[in-house]
């Protein structure tokens, strides 16, 4: 037994910080690694809110209803036991965040206010304006800063995880990380590590994610033997602002507060949006889904917008865009959305209080991720994962505002579990594999700096993003997926001929990016391969050639293993011990 277990947490978003706090509280020694200062992590981008069935609106909401909505919303692909546990913890997590000082919106009586979100009929989402992720991240960041000042946490900000150190028995003994200023690569010993490195939107080129969301750490572990589960399940958010460098999210809370999605009924209608009378507007979500209206789950809203544009040719001015209209909302409702209204105003130049926003779906969330057991441990002993980086909870489609809850819940489970594991860990023999792993990583670095090819890594990335977006997002065809896989194999080949335009050994961002790029390519194959083999439609995974859910064959978790340099797919049964799978239909009245 290690005297004082050392735990390394990789990633300083909500899941990472939650793990850190639990370990610090329990007296463990914790080292927090993050590419960016943790306060700048991608969790700040979350806008709309966090779910918990506190039932403060007298609607008869309950934890079990939240559980059912989540499992049903995820098209029954999630293992149910962790979902049940998470939803049960929801109310306590909200109370805790409130105690930490999160400026949640309030009712006149001073209680927490809740709004409605997609895939539920209850007002279950607590929120701080329209910047809830930012506010939650700050609250956890502050708590970690407090533990840091008391010497319980050591931060390594500006260090990037490269790989896990595994001993002869395949047990994790630490990590290799690279200092992004000095470019020094070194190993750090640990008795357990927790991977909280978020999603992989960058594989799609443009997404709503932050620059660091490459999936690089998850991919590195997959290449070291970790299973990557449900890779093909990628959430495309229905409402994003198309942009030159990224797709900026327009929160579901815009619809939660009453925003309406529409297009002109006549595709040749050239009138200014606000001058088009009600009768000439097609509120297609409300007409097609009378009960849930604009708040159908994201996969459904996204497909409907896609169909309106590409099948019905009804996009605004023939462009791939539809209106998200808030102009009818009263001032006090708009006030609760200030954060996102500012984003639209700043980046588009129109005032969404006066002019309906023009939006289109954008890649948003990674439902798949590292395979973990119910204690958040991957199949590599000592490697745990939590948050968007793992595959649990969301199944085939994530419900809005469940991500923030899960990140915190996942961290709260992973932290103590990692600590327990570490306490029982037998010491490594020899150096635990540190020297060998460091050498492997240094050799990779040397290959890159000595490569004198002609391929620009940023251009390879663009091509990856284009092929992934074209073939592996809203609508998927087997022929297209085969094409995408062949393209990635080609890009992997071209990667060998890479030309680093910057070979310096100081704050070399393109060097770090080029390393991430390789991992993005390998993980891209996992996504495409999983999608190719899943001949059904479920949640976010939609194949017109196989339009129905096929429980007999595919009510299963996809598990990708890295075998002989390629993804090898197997399937595992899903835990359906609490709710019997039933058809997922949101169109009834």
């Amino acid at each position: 037994m290690a005297a004082s277990p050392r735990i390394i947490v990789v990633g300083g978003g909500l899941a990472g910080l939650s793990s850190v706090i639990k370990i610090a509280e329990a007296g463990g020694t914790v080292y927090l690694f993050s590419i960016v200062p943790v306060k700048r992590s991608n969790s700040v981008c979350a806008q709309g809110g966090i779910n918990a069935a506190k039932d403060l609106k007298g609607e008869g909401d309950s934890v079990l209803k939240h559980f059912d909505d989540t499992v049903y919303g995820g098209d029954f692909l999630a293992n149910q036991t962790p979902v049940k546990n998470m939803t049960a913890q929801g109310p306590a997590i909200i109370d805790l965040l409130d105690r930490m000082g999160v400026p949640f919106n309030r009712t006149p009586e001073g209680l927490l206010d809740f709004r409605r979100f997609g895939g539920t009929l209850y007002q279950r989402t607590a929120f701080a304006g329209a910047t809830t992720g930012q506010q939650l991240l700050y609250a956890l960041d502050e708590q970690v800063r407090r533990h840091e000042s008391e010497g319980k946490v050591t931060k390594y900000e500006g260090w990037e995880f490269l790989s896990a150190v595994l001993d002869d028995n395949g047990v994790c003994r630490g990590i290799v990380a690279m200092n992004l200023r000095t470019m020094e690569t070194r190993t750090f010993p640990a008795d357990a590590i927790i991977i909280c490195t978020g999603g992989n939107g960058a594989i799609f080129g443009k997404s709503t994610n932050s620059v660091v969301c490459t999936g690089s750490a998850q991919s590195a572990l997959y290449q070291q033997g970790a299973f990557y589960a449900n890779g093909e399940f990628i959430q495309v958010h229905p409402t994003a602002i198309p942009g030159e460098d990224k797709l900026r999210l327009m929160s579901e809370s815009a619809r939660g507060e009453g925003g309406r999605v529409w297009v002109p009924r006549d595709r040749n209608d050239k009138r200014v949006a606000r001058s088009i009378p009600e009768a000439d507007r097609y509120y297609f979500l409300e007409e097609r889904y009378p009960k849930y209206g604009n708040l159908v789950p994201r996969d459904i809203a996204t497909r409907e917008i896609f169909k309106i544009v590409y099948e019905d040719n009804m996009g605004i001015d023939g462009q791939p865009m539809v209106y998200l209209d808030l102009t009818h909302l009263p001032k006090e409702r708009l006030h609760k959305l200030e954060g996102i209204l500012e984003i639209y105003e700043k980046f588009v130049g129109d005032d969404p209080r006066e002019v309906p926003m023009k939006i289109f779906p954008g890649v948003h969330y990674t439902m798949g991720g590292l395979w973990v057991d119910f204690n958040q441990q991957t199949n590599i002993p000592g490697v745990f994962a939590a948050g968007e980086a793992d595959y649990s909870i969301h199944g085939a489609n994530r419900l809005g505002a469940n991500s923030l809850l899960y990140c915190i819940y996942g961290g709260f489970v992973a932290g103590p579990q990692a600590l327990n594991y570490a306490k029982a860990l037998k010491p490594a023999t020899g150096d635990g594999g540190h020297a060998a792993e460091l050498q492997r990583q240094n050799e990779k670095n040397k290959q890159l700096t000595s490569s004198s090819g002609t391929e620009n890594p940023f251009k390879i990335w663009r091509e990856l993003g284009e092929t992934m977006t074209k073939h592996a997002t809203i609508v998927r065809y087997n022929a297209g997926l085969d094409e995408a896989d062949a393209k990635i194999v080609e890009l992997l080949h071209r990667y060998k001929n890479i030309n680093l335009s910057d070979k310096s050994q100081w704050a070399n961002t393109s060097f770090a990016f080029t390393r991430q790029l390789y991992n993005m390519l390998e993980l891209g194959r996992v996504i495409v391969r999983g999608a190719r083999l899943r001949d059904e439609s479920r949640g976010a995974h939609y194949k017109p050639e196989f339009p129905n859910r096929n429980d007999e064959q595919f009510l299963k978790t996809t598990k990708a293993a890295f075998v002989d340099g390629a993804p090898s797919i197997t399937y595992e049964d899903v835990d359906t011990s609490h709710i019997k799978p039933r058809p997922r239909v949101y169109s009834s009245t």
Binding site: R40, G101, N105, E142, R146, S210, D245
Partner: protein, 253 residues
């Protein structure tokens, strides 16, 4: 010939290297922002006079002005690169070059990337947190009227971009001034029902050298803040409380 965007970038390959300016011409596309310009240079790192160079180092992450990473000097003005739109910067004179430089009050790491960790140190010094007993379930927090939330939320929107410090004439080596962002956080945590237990400690931390007294009320901070924090109001409020605390301490300690 298709239109290009002229960009002049102040560069430094490491903290000890000489400062040089490199010029670039980027093919124009509508709706570009500064971060997408820098992305174009990474794809094709060649200067206007045809010299191959290294991609520009700069900090960025969310690209939607919420993570606080990409602050820099754009045409001499401290602002976030992601929300600086080329079409607006060049409105009226599309041939005028856009100039980019690192923030001037922080140590340069490389090119446009600077070290702003001083702000996080300051936040530690003023204990910008609520000292909760623990993360176990202790039930609901005290009720809080919406008016309090309305006052706290804007202060909690600070993205730690340090622009308020960059533009402050008092933020320099001779004053050691903590800057507006830290003072605003003191107000935020002192307003929280449970956070206020550390109120006196926070006020004392801002009482001495580098504290609120260094503020010269130039008001640059409140004008430059990309998130429109009520910074000058926070500074006045906290200054008043610091003085009251000092008087109290004078008689009781």
């Amino acid at each position: 010939m298709p239109r290009t965007i002229k960009v002049e970038i102040k560069r430094q390959s490491n903290p000890d290297a000489p400062v040089v300016t490199e010029k670039f011409e980027i093919p124009y596309r509508p709706n570009m922002n500064i971060t997408s310009l820098l992305g174009e240079i990474a794809c094709n790192p060649i200067t206007a006079d045809g010299k191959t160079t290294a991609p520009i180092a700069y900090d960025s992450n969310c690209l939607e002005e919420i993570c606080g990473s990409c602050a820099m000097l754009i045409n001499g003005k401290a602002r976030m690169a992601c929300s600086a739109l080329v079409d607006k910067l060049q409105a009226g004179n599309p041939d005028e070059p856009i100039t980019l430089a690192p923030l001037s009050k922080f140590p340069v790491v490389r090119d446009l990337s600077v070290d702003r960790s001083v702000l996080f140190q300051n936040l530690k010094a003023v204990k910008a947190w609520v000292p909760i007993d623990g993360t176990y379930d202790l039930g609901a927090a005290p009720r809080q009227f919406p008016q309090i939330q309305e006052e706290r939320y804007p202060l909690s929107n600070c993205i730690s971009c340090t622009i308020c410090m960059e533009v402050c004439p008092q933020f320099n080596d001779s004053t050691n001034f903590v800057g507006a962002a830290t003072i605003a956080q003191v107000k935020l945590f002192n307003m929280d029902p449970a956070g206020s237990v550390l109120k006196e400690e926070r006020l004392r931390a801002l009482a001495g050298d580098g504290g609120v007294q260094e503020c010269g009320f130039a008001q640059n901070c409140v004008e430059a803040c990309p998130k429109q924090l009520p910074l000058t109001e926070a500074i006045s409020d906290v200054t008043r409380e610091v003085i009251v605390q000092q008087v109290k301490d004078f008689f009781t300690r």
